[in-house]
Symmetry: C2
Subunit: 192 residues, 2 copies
DNA sequence: CGCGATCCATACTCGTGCGTATGGTATCCG
DNA sequence: CGGATACCATACGCACGAGTATGGATCGCG
Protein backbone atom coordinates (compact mmCIF):
# COMPACT_ATOMS: atom_id res chain seq x y z
CA UNK A 1 0.00 0.00 0.00
CA UNK A 2 2.41 2.64 1.18
CA UNK A 3 5.52 0.86 0.04
CA UNK A 4 8.26 2.91 -1.57
CA UNK A 5 6.27 4.57 -4.33
CA UNK A 6 9.18 6.72 -5.37
CA UNK A 7 11.67 4.92 -7.57
CA UNK A 8 14.51 7.20 -6.61
CA UNK A 9 17.35 4.79 -6.63
CA UNK A 10 20.15 7.34 -6.44
CA UNK A 11 21.75 8.27 -3.15
CA UNK A 12 20.35 11.19 -1.30
CA UNK A 13 21.85 14.62 -0.69
CA UNK A 14 21.14 17.16 2.02
CA UNK A 15 19.04 19.14 -0.43
CA UNK A 16 16.82 16.11 -1.01
CA UNK A 17 16.09 15.97 2.69
CA UNK A 18 15.37 19.68 2.81
CA UNK A 19 12.95 19.50 -0.08
CA UNK A 20 11.18 16.53 1.44
CA UNK A 21 11.00 18.38 4.73
CA UNK A 22 9.42 21.42 3.08
CA UNK A 23 6.91 19.21 1.33
CA UNK A 24 6.02 17.56 4.60
CA UNK A 25 5.74 20.92 6.32
CA UNK A 26 3.42 22.17 3.61
CA UNK A 27 1.25 19.08 3.95
CA UNK A 28 1.16 18.44 7.66
CA UNK A 29 2.80 21.33 9.42
CA UNK A 30 6.08 21.81 11.24
CA UNK A 31 5.01 19.62 14.11
CA UNK A 32 4.87 16.59 11.83
CA UNK A 33 8.51 16.98 10.87
CA UNK A 34 9.97 13.77 12.27
CA UNK A 35 13.15 12.21 11.00
CA UNK A 36 11.93 8.64 10.98
CA UNK A 37 8.77 9.62 9.13
CA UNK A 38 10.81 11.52 6.57
CA UNK A 39 13.17 8.60 6.20
CA UNK A 40 10.31 6.21 5.53
CA UNK A 41 8.92 8.56 2.95
CA UNK A 42 12.31 8.69 1.23
CA UNK A 43 12.77 4.95 1.39
CA UNK A 44 15.74 4.99 3.76
CA UNK A 45 16.34 4.93 7.52
CA UNK A 46 17.56 7.32 10.17
CA UNK A 47 21.10 6.16 9.60
CA UNK A 48 21.09 8.15 6.40
CA UNK A 49 19.65 11.28 7.94
CA UNK A 50 22.22 11.61 10.68
CA UNK A 51 24.98 11.47 8.15
CA UNK A 52 23.66 14.59 6.40
CA UNK A 53 22.47 16.53 9.45
CA UNK A 54 23.66 16.80 12.99
CA UNK A 55 20.16 17.10 14.40
CA UNK A 56 16.51 17.53 13.57
CA UNK A 57 16.81 21.19 14.42
CA UNK A 58 19.56 21.57 11.83
CA UNK A 59 17.28 20.14 9.17
CA UNK A 60 14.51 22.57 10.05
CA UNK A 61 16.95 25.46 9.95
CA UNK A 62 18.38 24.43 6.59
CA UNK A 63 14.93 23.86 5.13
CA UNK A 64 13.70 27.26 6.27
CA UNK A 65 16.72 29.00 4.83
CA UNK A 66 16.27 27.13 1.58
CA UNK A 67 12.63 28.17 1.45
CA UNK A 68 13.48 31.78 2.19
CA UNK A 69 16.04 31.71 -0.59
CA UNK A 70 13.77 30.32 -3.27
CA UNK A 71 11.43 33.06 -2.26
CA UNK A 72 8.87 34.85 -4.31
CA UNK A 73 11.45 36.79 -6.24
CA UNK A 74 9.91 36.02 -9.63
CA UNK A 75 6.51 37.35 -8.69
CA UNK A 76 7.91 40.55 -7.25
CA UNK A 77 10.09 41.22 -10.24
CA UNK A 78 7.36 40.50 -12.75
CA UNK A 79 4.93 42.78 -10.98
CA UNK A 80 7.42 45.59 -10.68
CA UNK A 81 8.18 45.29 -14.38
CA UNK A 82 4.64 46.27 -15.30
CA UNK A 83 4.56 49.78 -16.85
CA UNK A 84 1.25 51.00 -15.42
CA UNK A 85 1.43 51.26 -11.61
CA UNK A 86 -2.35 51.15 -11.31
CA UNK A 87 -2.49 47.80 -13.05
CA UNK A 88 -0.05 46.19 -10.67
CA UNK A 89 -2.33 45.69 -7.69
CA UNK A 90 -5.17 43.92 -9.50
CA UNK A 91 -2.67 41.72 -11.24
CA UNK A 92 -0.95 40.87 -7.95
CA UNK A 93 -4.25 40.04 -6.28
CA UNK A 94 -5.45 37.80 -9.06
CA UNK A 95 -2.15 36.05 -9.32
CA UNK A 96 -1.85 35.24 -5.65
CA UNK A 97 -5.46 34.14 -5.55
CA UNK A 98 -5.02 31.66 -8.35
CA UNK A 99 -1.62 30.25 -7.48
CA UNK A 100 -2.07 29.29 -3.90
CA UNK A 101 0.19 26.25 -3.96
CA UNK A 102 3.45 28.16 -3.33
CA UNK A 103 1.83 29.74 -0.30
CA UNK A 104 1.21 26.50 1.53
CA UNK A 105 4.57 26.56 3.26
CA UNK A 106 3.97 30.12 4.39
CA UNK A 107 0.57 29.11 5.75
CA UNK A 108 2.09 26.19 7.60
CA UNK A 109 4.83 28.33 9.12
CA UNK A 110 2.22 30.81 10.19
CA UNK A 111 0.84 28.15 12.51
CA UNK A 112 4.28 27.39 13.91
CA UNK A 113 5.20 30.81 15.18
CA UNK A 114 5.81 29.36 18.62
CA UNK A 115 8.91 27.58 17.34
CA UNK A 116 11.78 29.98 17.92
CA UNK A 117 13.43 28.94 14.68
CA UNK A 118 10.66 30.03 12.36
CA UNK A 119 10.00 33.43 13.89
CA UNK A 120 13.00 35.27 12.41
CA UNK A 121 12.45 33.73 9.00
CA UNK A 122 8.80 34.66 8.94
CA UNK A 123 9.58 38.12 10.25
CA UNK A 124 12.03 38.74 7.41
CA UNK A 125 9.78 37.34 4.70
CA UNK A 126 6.68 39.13 5.93
CA UNK A 127 8.58 42.37 6.31
CA UNK A 128 9.89 42.19 2.75
CA UNK A 129 6.45 41.51 1.38
CA UNK A 130 4.94 44.33 3.39
CA UNK A 131 7.48 46.79 2.07
CA UNK A 132 6.82 45.58 -1.44
CA UNK A 133 3.09 46.06 -0.99
CA UNK A 134 3.53 49.48 0.55
CA UNK A 135 5.61 50.55 -2.41
CA UNK A 136 3.01 49.48 -4.90
CA UNK A 137 0.34 51.41 -3.06
CA UNK A 138 2.52 54.50 -3.07
CA UNK A 139 3.21 54.13 -6.76
CA UNK A 140 -0.51 53.74 -7.30
CA UNK A 141 -1.04 57.19 -5.87
CA UNK A 142 -1.66 56.76 -2.16
CA UNK A 143 0.11 59.12 0.27
CA UNK A 144 2.80 57.36 2.32
CA UNK A 145 0.84 57.06 5.57
CA UNK A 146 -2.21 55.75 3.72
CA UNK A 147 -0.12 53.37 1.66
CA UNK A 148 1.41 51.78 4.73
CA UNK A 149 -1.91 51.24 6.45
CA UNK A 150 -3.49 49.91 3.30
CA UNK A 151 -0.63 47.49 2.91
CA UNK A 152 -1.12 46.33 6.48
CA UNK A 153 -4.78 45.76 5.85
CA UNK A 154 -4.22 43.95 2.59
CA UNK A 155 -1.55 41.71 3.98
CA UNK A 156 -3.63 40.86 7.00
CA UNK A 157 -6.47 39.89 4.68
CA UNK A 158 -4.05 37.66 2.79
CA UNK A 159 -2.81 35.95 5.91
CA UNK A 160 -6.30 35.50 7.28
CA UNK A 161 -7.46 34.06 4.02
CA UNK A 162 -4.74 31.45 4.10
CA UNK A 163 -5.77 30.35 7.57
CA UNK A 164 -9.48 30.25 6.85
CA UNK A 165 -9.10 28.21 3.72
CA UNK A 166 -6.18 25.82 3.86
CA UNK A 167 -6.74 24.66 7.35
CA UNK A 168 -10.23 25.54 8.31
CA UNK A 169 -12.55 24.79 5.41
CA UNK A 170 -15.19 27.42 5.90
CA UNK A 171 -18.32 26.62 3.86
CA UNK A 172 -16.50 25.50 0.77
CA UNK A 173 -16.72 28.34 -1.65
CA UNK A 174 -17.33 27.65 -5.34
CA UNK A 175 -14.92 28.67 -8.04
CA UNK A 176 -17.12 31.39 -9.51
CA UNK A 177 -17.96 32.74 -6.11
CA UNK A 178 -14.28 32.89 -5.28
CA UNK A 179 -13.57 34.92 -8.39
CA UNK A 180 -16.31 37.31 -7.40
CA UNK A 181 -14.74 37.62 -3.98
CA UNK A 182 -11.36 38.44 -5.48
CA UNK A 183 -12.88 41.14 -7.66
CA UNK A 184 -14.68 42.58 -4.67
CA UNK A 185 -11.40 42.67 -2.83
CA UNK A 186 -9.75 44.51 -5.71
CA UNK A 187 -12.55 47.07 -5.78
CA UNK A 188 -12.40 47.85 -2.08
CA UNK A 189 -8.68 47.65 -1.45
CA UNK A 190 -7.38 49.21 -4.63
CA UNK A 191 -7.34 52.95 -5.33
CA UNK A 192 -9.70 53.66 -8.20
CA UNK B 1 10.56 31.49 41.70
CA UNK B 2 7.67 29.74 40.04
CA UNK B 3 6.50 27.91 43.11
CA UNK B 4 2.79 27.67 43.76
CA UNK B 5 1.86 31.34 43.49
CA UNK B 6 -1.83 30.58 43.70
CA UNK B 7 -3.02 30.13 47.28
CA UNK B 8 -6.04 28.12 46.20
CA UNK B 9 -6.28 25.72 49.05
CA UNK B 10 -9.71 24.39 48.18
CA UNK B 11 -10.08 21.17 46.25
CA UNK B 12 -10.29 21.43 42.50
CA UNK B 13 -13.24 20.84 40.21
CA UNK B 14 -13.35 19.89 36.54
CA UNK B 15 -14.12 23.51 35.67
CA UNK B 16 -10.94 24.64 37.39
CA UNK B 17 -8.95 22.36 35.14
CA UNK B 18 -10.79 23.59 32.06
CA UNK B 19 -10.14 27.22 32.91
CA UNK B 20 -6.49 26.56 33.57
CA UNK B 21 -6.30 24.68 30.29
CA UNK B 22 -7.79 27.61 28.38
CA UNK B 23 -5.37 29.98 30.04
CA UNK B 24 -2.47 27.76 29.08
CA UNK B 25 -3.76 27.46 25.53
CA UNK B 26 -4.04 31.22 25.26
CA UNK B 27 -0.48 31.64 26.52
CA UNK B 28 1.41 28.83 24.86
CA UNK B 29 -0.88 27.15 22.37
CA UNK B 30 -2.68 23.84 22.24
CA UNK B 31 0.54 21.91 21.82
CA UNK B 32 1.68 22.96 25.28
CA UNK B 33 -1.37 21.44 26.91
CA UNK B 34 0.24 18.72 29.05
CA UNK B 35 -1.39 17.28 32.13
CA UNK B 36 1.70 17.27 34.33
CA UNK B 37 2.47 20.87 33.42
CA UNK B 38 -1.09 21.88 34.24
CA UNK B 39 -0.97 19.97 37.49
CA UNK B 40 2.22 21.75 38.53
CA UNK B 41 0.64 25.07 37.73
CA UNK B 42 -2.37 24.19 39.88
CA UNK B 43 -0.21 22.91 42.70
CA UNK B 44 -1.32 19.29 42.47
CA UNK B 45 -0.24 16.13 40.64
CA UNK B 46 -1.55 13.94 37.85
CA UNK B 47 -3.42 11.83 40.37
CA UNK B 48 -5.90 14.66 40.70
CA UNK B 49 -6.33 15.15 36.99
CA UNK B 50 -7.21 11.59 36.17
CA UNK B 51 -9.95 11.63 38.73
CA UNK B 52 -11.71 14.50 36.92
CA UNK B 53 -10.98 13.47 33.33
CA UNK B 54 -10.59 10.18 31.58
CA UNK B 55 -7.90 11.45 29.24
CA UNK B 56 -6.06 14.50 28.03
CA UNK B 57 -8.28 14.51 24.97
CA UNK B 58 -11.33 14.75 27.19
CA UNK B 59 -9.91 17.83 28.89
CA UNK B 60 -9.27 19.51 25.55
CA UNK B 61 -12.78 18.69 24.40
CA UNK B 62 -14.37 20.01 27.58
CA UNK B 63 -12.26 23.15 27.52
CA UNK B 64 -13.16 23.88 23.93
CA UNK B 65 -16.85 23.44 24.59
CA UNK B 66 -16.59 25.65 27.63
CA UNK B 67 -14.86 28.32 25.58
CA UNK B 68 -17.46 28.09 22.82
CA UNK B 69 -20.18 28.49 25.42
CA UNK B 70 -18.80 31.58 27.10
CA UNK B 71 -18.57 32.97 23.63
CA UNK B 72 -18.77 36.52 22.50
CA UNK B 73 -22.47 36.76 23.16
CA UNK B 74 -22.22 40.04 25.05
CA UNK B 75 -20.42 41.82 22.25
CA UNK B 76 -22.85 40.61 19.63
CA UNK B 77 -25.89 41.59 21.66
CA UNK B 78 -24.53 45.01 22.55
CA UNK B 79 -23.68 45.80 18.97
CA UNK B 80 -27.03 44.64 17.67
CA UNK B 81 -28.75 46.81 20.28
CA UNK B 82 -27.35 49.96 18.74
CA UNK B 83 -30.09 51.96 17.00
CA UNK B 84 -28.13 53.34 14.04
CA UNK B 85 -26.97 50.49 11.78
CA UNK B 86 -24.24 52.66 10.28
CA UNK B 87 -22.69 53.23 13.65
CA UNK B 88 -22.40 49.54 14.41
CA UNK B 89 -19.43 48.71 12.22
CA UNK B 90 -17.07 51.42 13.47
CA UNK B 91 -18.01 50.57 17.03
CA UNK B 92 -17.38 46.87 16.44
CA UNK B 93 -14.02 47.57 14.84
CA UNK B 94 -12.82 49.83 17.62
CA UNK B 95 -14.04 47.51 20.29
CA UNK B 96 -12.32 44.42 18.92
CA UNK B 97 -9.16 46.40 18.30
CA UNK B 98 -8.93 47.58 21.88
CA UNK B 99 -10.00 44.44 23.72
CA UNK B 100 -7.71 41.87 22.22
CA UNK B 101 -7.33 39.75 25.32
CA UNK B 102 -10.48 37.66 24.81
CA UNK B 103 -9.27 36.86 21.31
CA UNK B 104 -6.10 35.15 22.42
CA UNK B 105 -7.74 31.76 22.66
CA UNK B 106 -9.18 32.14 19.19
CA UNK B 107 -5.75 33.08 17.89
CA UNK B 108 -4.19 30.06 19.54
CA UNK B 109 -6.82 27.70 18.18
CA UNK B 110 -6.24 29.17 14.74
CA UNK B 111 -2.75 27.73 14.88
CA UNK B 112 -4.02 24.32 15.96
CA UNK B 113 -6.33 23.60 13.07
CA UNK B 114 -4.52 20.34 12.43
CA UNK B 115 -5.95 18.90 15.64
CA UNK B 116 -9.18 17.18 14.63
CA UNK B 117 -10.87 18.28 17.85
CA UNK B 118 -10.57 22.01 17.30
CA UNK B 119 -11.73 22.09 13.68
CA UNK B 120 -15.48 21.70 14.30
CA UNK B 121 -15.43 24.19 17.16
CA UNK B 122 -13.58 26.79 15.13
CA UNK B 123 -15.82 26.13 12.14
CA UNK B 124 -18.93 26.81 14.20
CA UNK B 125 -17.57 29.90 15.93
CA UNK B 126 -16.16 31.41 12.75
CA UNK B 127 -19.35 30.68 10.88
CA UNK B 128 -21.47 32.41 13.49
CA UNK B 129 -19.23 35.46 13.48
CA UNK B 130 -19.24 35.61 9.71
CA UNK B 131 -23.03 35.55 9.60
CA UNK B 132 -23.14 38.25 12.22
CA UNK B 133 -20.77 40.41 10.22
CA UNK B 134 -22.66 39.81 6.99
CA UNK B 135 -25.85 40.90 8.67
CA UNK B 136 -24.36 44.13 9.89
CA UNK B 137 -23.09 44.95 6.42
CA UNK B 138 -26.54 44.30 4.99
CA UNK B 139 -28.18 46.47 7.59
CA UNK B 140 -25.64 49.15 6.80
CA UNK B 141 -26.91 49.25 3.26
CA UNK B 142 -24.82 46.85 1.23
CA UNK B 143 -26.59 44.50 -1.20
CA UNK B 144 -26.52 40.84 -0.06
CA UNK B 145 -23.79 39.66 -2.40
CA UNK B 146 -21.61 42.62 -1.58
CA UNK B 147 -22.27 42.26 2.14
CA UNK B 148 -21.13 38.65 2.16
CA UNK B 149 -17.91 39.38 0.31
CA UNK B 150 -17.18 42.38 2.49
CA UNK B 151 -17.71 40.27 5.58
CA UNK B 152 -15.29 37.68 4.21
CA UNK B 153 -12.71 40.34 3.59
CA UNK B 154 -13.17 41.95 6.99
CA UNK B 155 -13.01 38.70 8.85
CA UNK B 156 -9.93 37.61 6.97
CA UNK B 157 -8.28 40.89 7.94
CA UNK B 158 -9.21 40.21 11.55
CA UNK B 159 -7.76 36.72 11.50
CA UNK B 160 -4.62 37.84 9.73
CA UNK B 161 -4.14 40.63 12.20
CA UNK B 162 -4.28 38.22 15.10
CA UNK B 163 -1.57 36.09 13.55
CA UNK B 164 0.71 38.93 12.63
CA UNK B 165 0.59 40.52 16.04
CA UNK B 166 0.20 37.98 18.82
CA UNK B 167 2.64 35.50 17.49
CA UNK B 168 4.79 37.23 14.97
CA UNK B 169 5.76 40.66 16.25
CA UNK B 170 5.99 42.62 13.08
CA UNK B 171 7.86 45.91 13.65
CA UNK B 172 6.18 46.77 16.91
CA UNK B 173 3.58 49.34 16.10
CA UNK B 174 3.03 52.26 18.46
CA UNK B 175 -0.28 52.96 20.15
CA UNK B 176 -1.07 56.07 18.16
CA UNK B 177 -0.07 54.43 14.94
CA UNK B 178 -2.32 51.52 15.75
CA UNK B 179 -5.29 53.82 16.28
CA UNK B 180 -4.59 55.42 12.93
CA UNK B 181 -4.54 51.98 11.38
CA UNK B 182 -7.91 51.11 12.88
CA UNK B 183 -9.43 54.32 11.56
CA UNK B 184 -8.00 53.62 8.15
CA UNK B 185 -9.58 50.18 8.30
CA UNK B 186 -12.94 51.69 9.17
CA UNK B 187 -12.71 54.12 6.27
CA UNK B 188 -11.91 51.52 3.67
CA UNK B 189 -14.04 48.62 4.86
CA UNK B 190 -17.11 50.49 6.03
CA UNK B 191 -19.79 51.90 3.67
CA UNK B 192 -19.72 55.65 3.90
C1' DC C 1 -18.06 10.70 66.02
C1' DG C 2 -17.43 7.94 62.08
C1' DC C 3 -18.01 6.27 57.62
C1' DG C 4 -18.64 6.63 52.78
C1' DA C 5 -17.61 9.49 48.94
C1' DT C 6 -14.55 12.64 46.96
C1' DC C 7 -10.17 14.30 45.90
C1' DC C 8 -5.18 13.75 45.61
C1' DA C 9 -0.06 11.61 45.96
C1' DT C 10 3.29 8.18 44.78
C1' DA C 11 5.11 4.94 42.02
C1' DC C 12 5.01 2.53 38.52
C1' DT C 13 4.30 0.88 32.91
C1' DC C 14 4.46 1.85 28.16
C1' DG C 15 4.84 4.00 23.68
C1' DT C 16 7.25 7.32 20.86
C1' DG C 17 10.77 9.87 18.85
C1' DC C 18 15.57 11.82 19.16
C1' DG C 19 20.21 10.77 19.03
C1' DT C 20 24.38 7.37 19.05
C1' DA C 21 27.35 3.44 17.96
C1' DT C 22 28.95 0.55 14.82
C1' DG C 23 29.18 -2.17 10.97
C1' DG C 24 27.86 -2.80 6.01
C1' DT C 25 27.50 -1.46 0.98
C1' DA C 26 28.19 1.42 -2.94
C1' DT C 27 30.94 4.69 -5.55
C1' DC C 28 34.94 7.11 -7.09
C1' DC C 29 39.57 7.44 -8.18
C1' DG C 30 44.46 6.41 -8.55
C1' DC D 1 41.44 -3.53 -9.05
C1' DG D 2 41.82 -2.16 -4.33
C1' DG D 3 41.29 1.21 -0.88
C1' DA D 4 39.37 5.59 0.81
C1' DT D 5 35.25 8.03 1.15
C1' DA D 6 30.37 8.68 1.01
C1' DC D 7 26.11 6.85 2.06
C1' DC D 8 23.00 3.75 4.57
C1' DA D 9 21.10 -0.21 7.95
C1' DT D 10 20.59 -2.17 12.48
C1' DA D 11 20.47 -2.00 17.12
C1' DC D 12 20.72 0.19 20.84
C1' DG D 13 20.23 4.08 24.93
C1' DC D 14 17.59 7.77 26.78
C1' DA D 15 14.11 11.44 27.90
C1' DC D 16 9.52 12.68 28.12
C1' DG D 17 4.69 12.50 28.50
C1' DA D 18 0.27 9.71 28.74
C1' DG D 19 -2.12 6.54 31.37
C1' DT D 20 -2.69 2.99 35.50
C1' DA D 21 -2.66 1.11 40.21
C1' DT D 22 -3.15 1.79 44.70
C1' DG D 23 -3.11 3.84 49.04
C1' DG D 24 -3.73 8.11 51.77
C1' DA D 25 -6.05 12.45 53.12
C1' DT D 26 -10.13 15.25 53.49
C1' DC D 27 -14.93 16.51 53.33
C1' DG D 28 -19.97 15.93 53.98
C1' DC D 29 -23.44 14.18 56.60
C1' DG D 30 -26.25 11.08 59.49
Amino acid sequence: MNASAKPERTRLSAEDWEDAALKLIADQGVGALAVEALARQLGVTKGSFYWHFRTREALLQASLERWEQYGEREVIEQIEAMPDPRARLPELFRRVAHELAPHRVYAALLKALDHPQVVPVMARVSQRRMEFLTNIYREAGLPPEEALNRARLTYAAYVGFLQLNFTLGLPRISHDEFDAYVEHMIRTLTPA
